[in-house]
C-alpha cells in the first residue's frame, strides 16, 4: 500500500480536470513526433521483407542494389554484429530464465512469417532506397507452413522452430473441481474465439538515428520503451552506455511499440554509414509487419449451484503466438491468472498454451492477455444467469470477488474490490429501456465486468525513478524517463509535483523519455506509469519539500511541521510567508540541495508456482464494469450501438479528464475489436494491410461513451490511484455479445461480432447459405 498522503485538507491540483500542457502543443501542431525530426545529411532507410509466410532463402544477393545511385548501405543478416534480439522482458530486468526467447534481427536461412525483415537499405532519398530494396535478389524456396495453433501442436505438424511449436504452457489447479462439478446444478460449456487485432495507432513506426558529437549512437524513436537502448547496444556489440534512445511524444502505442520497431535497424545503419538515418514505416508495412494481439481459442466449462454460485470452472486456453515468441509467454500468463474473471470460484483448473505458427508474430497489446478472457468469462456468466433466471447484475453480485478473497492463482486481494457496485452503477446508468424504432429492429442490453492487473509481475522487481528540482526563480523541473504515449503520462507527473510543491502547473517543466538524460522510469506498458513513475515523482517531490521546509523553518522562526508550500511561497500558520526563491537562495548558501532524485520500488515477490497457487503475481488490479445497449436489424444482422456506459474504480483520479479519456478511448478500442477489427489471413498472408480493409471505429460507428470515474480511495499509485490505461479495453466485446444475446436470443462466440456472423446465427442465410 502507498502511504496515505494528506498534504492539504483539500488538494489544489490533484483530482482536478486540468488541461494538459501537451494538449496545447498538439493543437498548435508544435509537437515534433519521431517522423517530424530531421538532421543534416540524413539518409532514408527502408526494410526488405519476406513475401512468404514460410520459406527458405536460397539466394540473397545485394550486389546490384548496393551499386545503385544514392545507396549508402545494404545490410543483411551477415552484417549484423549480433543477429539476435531477446524478446522476453523489455525494460530494466534482464533475466527471467525460462521465458527467454529470441528472434533474428534480419532473417538468415529461413523466413517464418510474411513481412519478416530480410535486408535493410539506406540511401540519399527514399525513392532510391526503395528502388534498391526492390533490386535485392532474393530467391525463396517455399516451405510448408502451419497457420493454426491447434494444427501446430498436432503430431507431424511443420515445425516453425526446431525445438517444437509449443512455446509456453501455464497451468492452475485449485480445489477439487471434479467433485465440485458433480455437485453443480447447472453446467455451461462454451468455446470462444478471438481474432488477430492490430494496435493501429495513427502514427506509424518511425525514428531518426545519428552518431552524436560524443560518439554515442542516438536514436530518436517512437517507442514505449526507451530502455531498448540496451537491445540496440547488444545487436551492435557496443557498450550499452554508447547508445542513447530519446522517446518523443508518441502518436499512440497501445502495446504495439513495446517491442523494438525501427531502432535496431536505425542503429545498424547509422553505425555502418556514420550518417544520420531516418526510417518511417508505411501504414501497409505497419499493418503487415507489426506484432498483433493474440487470437485465442478458449474452452470454458462452468458449474453453478441452483442459487447461482459458481462452484467450479475448467478452462482451456490456446493462443496463436505467431512466428516468433516476443512477449507471448507473458501474455499467456496474464490470461491464465485472470481466466476466471473477477469472481469467486472455489475450484478452478486452467490449462493455457500458446503455439508457434507461420502467422504474423503476436505480442503486447493493450489488455495484454487479460482482455481476451473477458469475452469468454463474461459470456459464460451471462449464460449461467440466463439458465438460472438471474438478471445480469444479480448473477455477478452473487459471485463477485471481495477484499480478502483470492484469485485462482492464490493471490489475495488486499485493496477494495468495487465489483458489485460498478455493475450496479453502469446497469442503472443505461436508464429506461427505449422501444425499438421499427418492426425489424430489436433492442438488447449487455453487461460485462473485468479485472486487469496494473504494474508488472512482482518478481520482475519493477522500479521507476524521477528527479524533481527547483530552479532559482522558483520554477520547477521534473525529469523522468517516461515515454508519453498520449495518455497524459507526463502531465500527470507535473500535476503531482505541482501539488506537493505548491506551484502552478504553468510553472512546471517536464523532461521525459531520454535514456541518457532522464532518470529511467521503465516501460509505458502494463498500466504502470502513473502507478510507478507517479510514485517516484511523489517521493521525490515530498523529499524536496521536506528539504525546503527544513531550511525555511528557521527563517520564519517556526517548526517545519507548521509550514506549507502554496502559490510559490512557504507559508506559516498565521499567514507569514516567504517567497520560495528566497528559501532557494538560502539553500544555495547552506549547501542544501534544491532537487531530489527518488527511486520507487514496487512491492516485490518471488515467482509463484501457478499450478499450486500460492501467492502474489501482480501488485494489484483495476476492476471495471461496462454496459451496452444495442439495436439489431433482424433482417441483416447489423448491430448498432445505441448507448454505452463504462465504470472503473481508479482509486483516485489524478486528472479526471484524462481518466475519462482513457476509459472512453479504451472502450472504443474494445468495441472496435468486438465489432469491426480483424486481421484477415490466408495461409499466413495478410489481406488487411490498409486502413480501408483493417477497420477501426470511426466517429460515426460508436456512441458517446459515458465514463463513470469511481474513486474508492484505495490503490497502490500516488494519492491511492490505480492504473487505468488498459482496463477499459477488456469488457466491450463481451458487453456487446451479451446485449446481442439479450436482443435476439442468439449467442455469438467468435470475434469480431460481424453482421454476417449474426445473420448466419439468426438463420437468415438459411440452408442455401
Amino acid at each position: 500500500m502507498a502511504e496515505a498522503v494528506v498534504l492539504h485538507p483539500s488538494l489544489r491540483l490533484v483530482g482536478r480536470p486540468l488541461p494538459r500542457h501537451d494538449a496545447r502543443d498538439k493543437v498548435a501542431a508544435a509537437t515534433a513526433y519521431a517522423a517530424d525530426w530531421g538532421m543534416p545529411g540524413m539518409l532514408q532507410a527502408t526494410v526488405l521483407r519476406s513475401p512468404y509466410a514460410s520459406a527458405r532463402i536460397v539466394k540473397l544477393d545485394t550486389g546490384r542494389a548496393a551499386a545503385m545511385p544514392g545507396v549508402a548501405a545494404v545490410l543483411t543478416a551477415k552484417d549484423v554484429p549480433r543477429n539476435t534480439l531477446a524478446t522476453d522482458v523489455p525494460g530494466q530486468t534482464t533475466a527471467v530464465g525460462p521465458l527467454r526467447a529470441t528472434l533474428h534481427v534480419l532473417a538468415t536461412e529461413r523466413v517464418r512469417h510474411q513481412g519478416e525483415p530480410v535486408a535493410l537499405v539506406a540511401a540519399e532519398t527514399l525513392e532510391q532506397a526503395r528502388a534498391a530494396a526492390e533490386a535485392i535478389e532474393v530467391q525463396y524456396e517455399p516451405l510448408p507452413g502451419v497457420f493454426d495453433p491447434e494444427a501446430a501442436l498436432a503430431p507431424g505438424a511443420p515445425r516453425v522452430h526446431e525445438a517444437g511449436n509449443l512455446l509456453a504452457h501455464w497451468r492452475i489447479a485449485r480445489g477439487d473441481s471434479a467433485a465440485a462439478f458433480a455437485r453443480a446444478a447447472v453446467i455451461v460449456e462454451g468455446e470462444y474465439t478471438t481474432q488477430f487485432v492490430d494496435a493501429a495507432y495513427l502514427e506509424p513506426e518511425s525514428g531518426v538515428a545519428w552518431i552524436d558529437s560524443d560518439g554515442v549512437i542516438t536514436i530518436r524513436v517512437s517507442t514505449q520503451v526507451i530502455e531498448h537502448f540496451r537491445d540496440v547496444a547488444e545487436v551492435l556489440q557496443i557498450p550499452q552506455n554508447r547508445v542513447r534512445v530519446i522517446g518523443p511524444y508518441l502518436g499512440g502505442g497501445f502495446g504495439g511499440k513495446e517491442d523494438v520497431t525501427v531502432e535496431v535497424y536505425l542503429g545498424l545503419l547509422a553505425l555502418r554509414t556514420g550518417r544520420p538515418v531516418k526510417m518511417v514505416w508505411t501504414r501497409q508495412e505497419s499493418l503487415l509487419a507489426r506484432a498483433k494481439r493474440h487470437p485465442y481459442r478458449m474452452r470454458y466449462r462452468t458449474g453453478a449451484s441452483a442459487s447461482g454460485e459458481i462452484v467450479a470452472e475448467q478452462i482451456d486456453l490456446l493462443a496463436d503466438a505467431g512466428a516468433y515468441a516476443y512477449l507471448s509467454a507473458l501474455v499467456l500468463l496474464y490470461s491464465t491468472v485472470t481466466a476466471a474473471g473477477p469472481y469467486r470460484v472455489p475450484a478452478v483448473e486452467v490449462e493455457a498454451r500458446c503455439a508457434y505458427t507461420n502467422n504474423p508474430p503476436t505480442s503486447a497489446m493493450r489488455g495484454f492477455g487479460a482482455m481476451q478472457t473477458v469475452f469468454a468469462y463474461e459470456s459464460q456468466m451471462d449464460r449461467i444467469g440466463r439458465a438460472l433466471g438471474l438478471d445480469p447484475v444479480e448473477i455477478r453480485r452473487m459471485n463477485a470477488l471481495r477484499r480478502g478473497d483470492s484469485l485462482p492463482v492464490g493471490q489475495v486481494l488486499e485493496t477494495h474490490v468495487a465489483m458489485p457496485e460498478l455493475a450496479e452503477r453502469v446497469w442503472a446508468a443505461l436508464g429506461p429501456v427505449r422501444p425499438a424504432r421499427a418492426a425489424h429492429v430489436k433492442v438488447g442490453r449487455g453487461l460485462a465486468c473485468n479485472l486487469q492487473p496494473y504494474g508488472r509481475i512482482v518478481w520482475l522487481h519493477d522500479w521507476s525513478s524521477a528527479w524533481v528540482g527547483f530552479e532559482m526563480d522558483g520554477s520547477l523541473v521534473v525529469r523522468c524517463g517516461v515515454p508519453d504515449v498520449g495518455g497524459g503520462q507526463a502531465s500527470s507527473l507535473c500535476q503531482i509535483a505541482a501539488e506537493v510543491l505548491g506551484v502552478g502547473l504553468e510553472q512546471v517543466s517536464v523532461h521525459i523519455g531520454d535514456s541518457a538524460l532522464t532518470p529511467l522510469a521503465g516501460t509505458t506498458t502494463a498500466s504502470r506509469q502513473l502507478y510507478m513513475s507517479g510514485n517516484a515523482v511523489l517521493k521525490a517531490a515530498r523529499e524536496l519539500r521536506a528539504q525546503l521546509l527544513a531550511v525555511a523553518a528557521p527563517m520564519l522562526g517556526v517548526k517545519d511541521s507548521a509550514l506549507d508550500l502554496l502559490e510559490g511561497a512557504v507559508v506559516a500558520d498565521g499567514g507569514r510567508s516567504l517567497p520560495v526563491p528566497d528559501v532557494l537562495r538560502r539553500c544555495a548558501r547552506e549547501g542544501v540541495p534544491r532537487s531530489h532524485l527518488a527511486v520507487y520500488h514496487a512491492p516485490a515477490g518471488e515467482p509463484v508456482d501457478l499450478a499450486t497457487g500460492s501467492g502474489k503475481v501482480f501488485p494489484d488490479y483495476t476492476f471495471g464494469a461496462h454496459a451496452a445497449e444495442v439495436e439489431i436489424d433482424m433482417e441483416t444482422g447489423a448491430v448498432r450501438l445505441v448507448k454505452y456506459v463504462a465504470a472503473h474504480d481508479v482509486g483516485r483520479a489524478i486528472n479526471p479528464q484524462s481518466v475519462e479519456g482513457q476509459i472512453q478511448g479504451g472502450a472504443v478500442q474494445g468495441l472496435g475489436g468486438g465489432l469491426l477489427e480483424e486481421v484477415i489471413l490466408e495461409e499466413g498472408i495478410n489481406l488487411t494491410t490498409s486502413f480501408a480493409s483493417y477497420l477501426i471505429p470511426t466517429a460515426a460507428d460508436v456512441p458517446d461513451v459515458e465514463a463513470l470515474v469511481v474513486e474508492s480511495g484505495e490503490g497502490l499509485g500516488p494519492f491511492n490511484a490505480r492504473g487505468i490505461g488498459e482496463p477499459p479495453i477488456g469488457p466491450p466485446a463481451a458487453a456487446v455479445a451479451n446485449a446481442i444475446a439479450d436482443a435476439t436470443g442468439v449467442r455469438l462466440t467468435r470475434l469480431p461480432l460481424t453482421p454476417e456472423r449474426l445473420a448466419r446465427a439468426l438463420g437468415l442465410l438459411g440452408k442455401a447459405g
Partner: protein, 156 residues
Amino acid sequence: MIRRLVVNGRARELDVLPHQTLLEVLRDTLGIFEVKEGCGEGVCGACTVLLEGRPVSSCLVLALAVRGRAILTVRGLEGEGGLHPLQEAFVKSGAVQCGFCTPGMLLTALAFLEHHPRPTREAIRAALEGNLCRCTGYTKIVDAVLAYARGDEGHG
C-alpha cells in the same frame, strides 16, 4: 518544374516533381510538419489540409495539380491572439490524447462548421467520420466541437 504553392496565405516558389504529392512537398520540401502521414491512401485524415476551404487528403493530391491554389494547414488557424477558439476548445475538453489526428480533425471540423454552425452531436460525428482517432473514442472530440459551436453562438 518550379511551381508556386500558396500555403497559409504565403506564396512559395519551389521545385516540384510530377509524382510528388502535396503531403510530400509540404513535409519534405517545405518542412511543414504539422501535416501528418497516417496511411498514405486518404483513409485516416491525418494529412487533411483545406484546399480553398474544402478538406482534402494531401496524400491524394499531386502537388502540381494544386499550384497557385490556397492551402490551409492547422498553423494557418492561429490568429495574433494565439490559438483559434476551436483549438482552445480541444484543449479544454480533453479532446487531445496522442495528438496525431488533431490537426486534421481541427481542419475538418472547421470546414464543416462553416456551413453547419449549430450542429447536433450526430451531425458532428457524421462530419468527422473520415478522420480516424485511435485514442479518445471521439466523445471528447465531439464535446469540443460542440462547445466551440455553442460558444460562437454566444459571441455572435
